[in-house]
Amino acid sequence: MDILNPHIGLIFWTTVSFLILLIILKKYAWIPIISYIHNREQFIQDSLLKAKEAQNEIKQLNDNKNQLIKEACLEKDKIIKNAYNISDSIIEEANKKSHIKFIAMIEKAKKEIDIYENHSMENLKNKVSDLSIVISKNIIKNVLKNEEDQIILIEKIIANRNFN
């Protein structure tokens, strides 16, 4: 049963070499490798967290943007409604004003037309009277060519008039 007998030489060499291996690997291999892996995992976790935060920020920004767009749409509608109302009122006012002006202008025109009519009527009367005088003068000249006729006329006129 040689296989079950511990051999002191192998025990010694195994102990020494295992301890040396442990010290060397601990200092030059395991601690740097483990710290490197740990750092990389932390870096990955940190960047994942940052990416999540960035996503949340983008979501918030999007929500804000949508809210702003909604508010802007509502304001736009309000402004357009107001503008319609204002334009309607302006048009009504303008209509009223123009109506008043129109009536005033018509009255003025009527007055002016009356004035001109009166003027023209007077002128016409004057001219007609002038013409009638001329015509009557001519007629009288034609009629009263003879002295006899004149006398007859004078007599008639005197006859018509009453001397009271």
Partner: protein, 249 residues
């Protein structure tokens, strides 16, 4: 007369040599020791190269082979069994795992780098088992010793409990030693027996059966090589964690 004297002298010397054989300390560099040095060289060179690659921020095949094992030992063995202070014990666990694994694989290979069964040798497993036991005792807290020497039982039971607890420490080490030794040497004994079938039956007709079963056993031994390295590391972590986090009960 002469002949008889020579014969007697030879017999005497032989008997004395047999007697002194176990009394002298034999520190000769045997085949097993050379194999162990070789495995240590391979481990140091490989892992320093891995570390160098990490420092240079470049990735080689060997890095992607070593890194999952390190992460597996950290996440599946060290963290659940040891707890918060797992990072302190990682170098020991990793060294034990890779040392046993490499020596198991070298033991399987029949040609030059291998050819000798180091992990199937009880001297080797004794050293590893006692190192892991010493580590678990070294990192234990005060309640570990209190549980052994002042357990929370009636005083009449102390003569029974204290020896049982003390034996328990060594039985844990013994279980580690025997498990690794028996698993590895059992595989090699099966291989020897299967090869010996040809010589026992004195015919080549049995060789296909031998080869078929040899391939099967070699694959099984490869599995066992990984499995035993894993179990040894797991139990070391378990003992360290038990002793470091023990509570008075």
């Amino acid at each position: 007369m002469d002949n008889e004297f020579i014969y007697n002298y030879y017999d005497y010397m032989n008997n004395n040599l047999q007697k002194y054989r176990y009394k002298l300390l034999d520190f000769s560099i045997t085949k097993n020791v050379v194999s162990m040095f070789l495995s240590i060289m391979i481990l140091i060179i490989t892992l320093l190269y891995v570390n160098y690659n990490y420092k240079k921020n470049r990735y080689r095949f060997i890095n992607s082979f070593i890194e999952p094992i390190i992460i597996f030992i950290r996440d599946q063995i060290a963290k659940p069994n040891i707890g918060i202070q797992y990072i302190r014990h990682m170098p020991l666990l990793l060294t034990i795992f890779f040392f046993i694994l490499l020596n198991n694989i070298i033991g399987i290979i029949p040609l030059f780098p291998g050819g000798n069964n180091l992990t199937g040798n009880i001297s080797f497993t004794i050293v590893l088992g006692f190192i892991s036991t010493f580590a678990s005792i070294y990192y234990s807290n005060k309640y570990f010793w209190k549980n052994i020497f002042f357990p929370n039982v009636p005083y009449l039971l102390y003569p029974i409990i204290i020896p049982i607890e003390l034996i328990g420490i060594f039985s844990k080490a013994l279980s580690l030693i025997i498990r690794l030794f028996a698993n590895i040497s059992a595989g090699h004994i099966i291989v020897i027996s299967l090869v010996s079938l040809i010589f026992i039956f004195k015919t080549l007709i049995v060789s296909p059966i031998t080869i078929f079963f040899l391939i099967f056993i070699y694959i099984l031994e490869l599995l066992v090589a990984f499995l035993q390295a894993f179990i040894f590391t797991l139990l070391t972590a378990l003992f360290i964690g038990n002793n470091a986090n023990s509570e008075y009960h």
